[in-house]
Symmetry: D2
Subunit: 337 residues, 4 copies
Amino acid sequence: MLNTLIIGASGYTGAELAKMVHVHPHLALAGLYVSANSVDAHKPISELHGQLKGIVDMPLQPLTDPAEIATQADIVLLATAHEVSHDLAPVFLAAGCQVFDLSGAFRVQGDDFYPQYYGFSHQHPQWLDHAVYGLAEWNGAAIAQAQLIAVPGCYPTASQLALKPLIEQGLLDGSMLPVINAVSGVSGAGRKASMTNSFCEVSLQAYGIFSHRHQPEIASHLGQDVIFTPHLGNFKRGILATITAKLAPGVTAAHVADAMQNAYPTSADPHAVRLLGEQAAKLQNVVNTCFCDIGWKIQQEHIILTSAIDNLLKGASSQAMQCINIRNGFPQLTALV
Amino acid sequence: MLNTLIIGASGYTGAELAKMVHVHPHLALAGLYVSANSVDAHKPISELHGQLKGIVDMPLQPLTDPAEIATQADIVLLATAHEVSHDLAPVFLAAGCQVFDLSGAFRVQGDDFYPQYYGFSHQHPQWLDHAVYGLAEWNGAAIAQAQLIAVPGCYPTASQLALKPLIEQGLLDGSMLPVINAVSGVSGAGRKASMTNSFCEVSLQAYGIFSHRHQPEIASHLGQDVIFTPHLGNFKRGILATITAKLAPGVTAAHVADAMQNAYPTSADPHAVRLLGEQAAKLQNVVNTCFCDIGWKIQQEHIILTSAIDNLLKGASSQAMQCINIRNGFPQLTALV
Amino acid sequence: MLNTLIIGASGYTGAELAKMVHVHPHLALAGLYVSANSVDAHKPISELHGQLKGIVDMPLQPLTDPAEIATQADIVLLATAHEVSHDLAPVFLAAGCQVFDLSGAFRVQGDDFYPQYYGFSHQHPQWLDHAVYGLAEWNGAAIAQAQLIAVPGCYPTASQLALKPLIEQGLLDGSMLPVINAVSGVSGAGRKASMTNSFCEVSLQAYGIFSHRHQPEIASHLGQDVIFTPHLGNFKRGILATITAKLAPGVTAAHVADAMQNAYPTSADPHAVRLLGEQAAKLQNVVNTCFCDIGWKIQQEHIILTSAIDNLLKGASSQAMQCINIRNGFPQLTALV
Amino acid sequence: MLNTLIIGASGYTGAELAKMVHVHPHLALAGLYVSANSVDAHKPISELHGQLKGIVDMPLQPLTDPAEIATQADIVLLATAHEVSHDLAPVFLAAGCQVFDLSGAFRVQGDDFYPQYYGFSHQHPQWLDHAVYGLAEWNGAAIAQAQLIAVPGCYPTASQLALKPLIEQGLLDGSMLPVINAVSGVSGAGRKASMTNSFCEVSLQAYGIFSHRHQPEIASHLGQDVIFTPHLGNFKRGILATITAKLAPGVTAAHVADAMQNAYPTSADPHAVRLLGEQAAKLQNVVNTCFCDIGWKIQQEHIILTSAIDNLLKGASSQAMQCINIRNGFPQLTALV
């Protein structure tokens, strides 16, 4: 049994992780932590997340000395703010823990990125260099060897899983940037009180146009610039991305289907992508699951792809668990289906 | 044209009032006010309430000197917190304005009530004595003469309009307290950020069991104790109250129907109650309308009534407007249908 | 491994059952069936219920010869219409199968009940006599011995689990009937197209006032008449029941707490009831779980209880699975948490 | 007062029209009609649309002899199916009525269009030639002279109002087709029972990819091919269109702002478009209003526009009323704000 810590366990993602670790046959939930001054410190996690009552009632401990708890841990899940992950990851790494960071702190290489998009200068370039981007279906070999895994963002997961097979096979025409329109449930904004998340204020709208930090994350890992427009939807969970792109001359439906099948083959160790062919992805088929559903349709030189995930699961916690499984040699959907 | 001020215009009720005053043929919107230190001061109301853009774009002015603006006003609508209404109403009353207070500050007679339920001691017992409770279909004669009208709360409006015809006619059996279960939309909690109102946290549940301040408001104006259990529902607007009561021996369906018809007769000056007979009230038929729909069904000695309103309209702003209309001799649904 | 059939597998409950059987360590999913003339016959279940894709893709077979398939089955789950269950159960029982019926066909003893509430005369009084009512936390001993288990209705489960501890201990005052107000998600009406379930028509309202078939089911199994008013809510899953009752003279909060703790004790074989004490039950804490959350509050002689379940799980499929587990000696929440 | 008929008055659009005509100072509601064999014939419209109770209770008459009722009518609103409008319009036109058709029967010129997209061959090419496309802010001069006005579809209204100012001014680069992603509320599918509209089945998803009939409507009236992907959203009313396009070389933000201001100028006769500048359109600001809100943002050569309407109002009934007002010399938002 691998001792597993969850740091930042008060949020929606933390609660999902707690339940997954609890049911995992090879992981032991060794501790739930929140920041030292959190109002939630010492409360049982099930007081904040009532659905866990009777399942995981462990208290949220204040994180006062990360170096000390690191000595007892095999695996550390950071469900913390970007700056917090940036500071904490090296502490746990130094102690030899496997670190799975769900923030953006180690996702993208490059100097200019962090000040502009995250508002801080990165102080750990060596770890940034060694971090492996945890897009589970694509980076499995590297994940299996890594000590620091940067679990991808929610929008980037939905977007890349749909586009990457086409880009890797050179099927897209460079004359048009792929246009990604995505709608996310409100849980994507985290567990907190704000006017934006206030029930009566939530109503479908775009936000972060041309300025969302997930645009460079998507573009850098695809190796392809994209136009990305996120939207807030009137639902709690899930992301649906609708992607419009132009196919390179001569590309046929068969080429696309082959690229998809080859990227996401049926396997003895099943992954989390479900190919729908010409059927459109539908949000409720993936909510509360670890899956990404991908459908696509072609007309002449244009393709429209739809890609749906649960933002808290495949967009965060279940992808982290998939990475843990890959890293430690367990079937990758252990504790997930 | 009567000069009309709205104090506390940044909230959901304030926005509804602003639109009603704007379309009213005999009222002039003379000013929108927020508290002097509000972050919303000087913003156009349509910046907070985008649906008003192009209709009412008047700025929200900081309320620095109520006594001064009182001199220019005929009518003052207080859509303010209870304590604020308590302090402001006498200022406007002293200047001779008609005051329509949408808070609880002047709704209930009695010494013990305010400290226990509202957390303050009432300093204006003389105005409390003179305040008329603005339940429009019942207190029209008194409203027409009053200077201070205390507009009823949302739950009390839905509850009383259904029960009052039976109680006034002595049709209920005293051996069982009427049981009022009501579900309100989230807008009932006002326009603000809180964990309770946070989109992902909202989910049907009871609250304020045995302790909600609307219980004594209902009981005191009905002259009948009641068991009242409010619930938060996963919708923005509307209240549905389901009321179970016991009929006095010998009371028949015909007695009940007569009581309802007599209480809410067809009239040359139409009121806002719609009787549904045995049909159950349905929320979406009243949302965005000024109406209260009431249905009822009898089995042996029990009766179940359903009563639905828009909490922001008949439960607040449109009832206030109905009172303004009654007070000033206009058809009572002017600016409402 | 026990061979398990699901009859009526196209509905929402059928889909939940299919997934549970699939993950159960001691059950083998031996077949999914729909009525012989169903438009869904031969489709994979995951075509109707996209969330099952890649998990359970087994086809829905037309049920042409129940007697034949009965010979291969150990356990049969009937997620069928009342009349269909009424006709099918004896066929499977005759073959020696354990039958878990999720319809109302075997839930209530008594001659008059079926014609009045279900529209048919019962033809199998001997099976009706032998059927055990599958309220898992209460009838475990009988369930463990039964061949035919009538899984309770959704509203009756939420209602009885809250009231039964009080009634069994004689804590209620007979002078007032318990008043049960309950709100159900739309999935309670089943998977079908109707104006009632049409998205734009759904809006909170009471229905079946004084006439719902779950009233006599509740009353007969409680041994106590009740007033039951169901409502349709604007959400997909879940039931919240709010129950108002009168305590017998001398009953204290401690008596109530004791009755609850004794009825639902902590146990080495955990059950599915979670006691919340004075906290109110909240829908989203139980949706997608097998739990029933129960809270209560007392003021003088009145008590208000709130009880929440997922109508498709504890109100149907997970309670059926709990019965299967009890019947076959497995921990009762196997495949459920 | 102009006698006004509504044909197809049982649907959601019909109900909105009935209320608008009722409150219009220069229109008299002369009759509500449904098809001769409708199950709703003879019912009061308020029985189907409870929100109209006490406002419009007129019965829905079976339409048995259109030619006869045409003789009494000045204005006819066709809220009927495409084929029905196609057949009825000429009857009312022959009688000299002004006809405002809300279906697609007269919206697009061209031989191939109707069989391919609507499934019938057009039999009235002469009326098709004379029909004026009722995009109110753009075709006012023609609408003012027309006898047959084809009121635009919902998606085309939201899409064209945003794109047309740019296209008319030649601001777009032809090398990239504008990409329109739009999400519609479920009421867009009409008032009927279907699995697609069933409450539990509704969940955000794309549909009609590359095949929706509104694509050629948009393209033909813009004079510009577009990629249009409609989505079904989990809400009752409203459409949000997010449009990505490429600006022609040299086009600046100032050019775009000028084009918008010139297309939708402040006017003594206010129109229904509200320009938001860099702010994104939000659904709830337009729902239950006659407005189209348009925002836009530019980054280098790309522009993203957001455009929001109420699909039943600006996307259908209120645009029809705007056309009636323009045609008859009334202020264009009469009965709408």
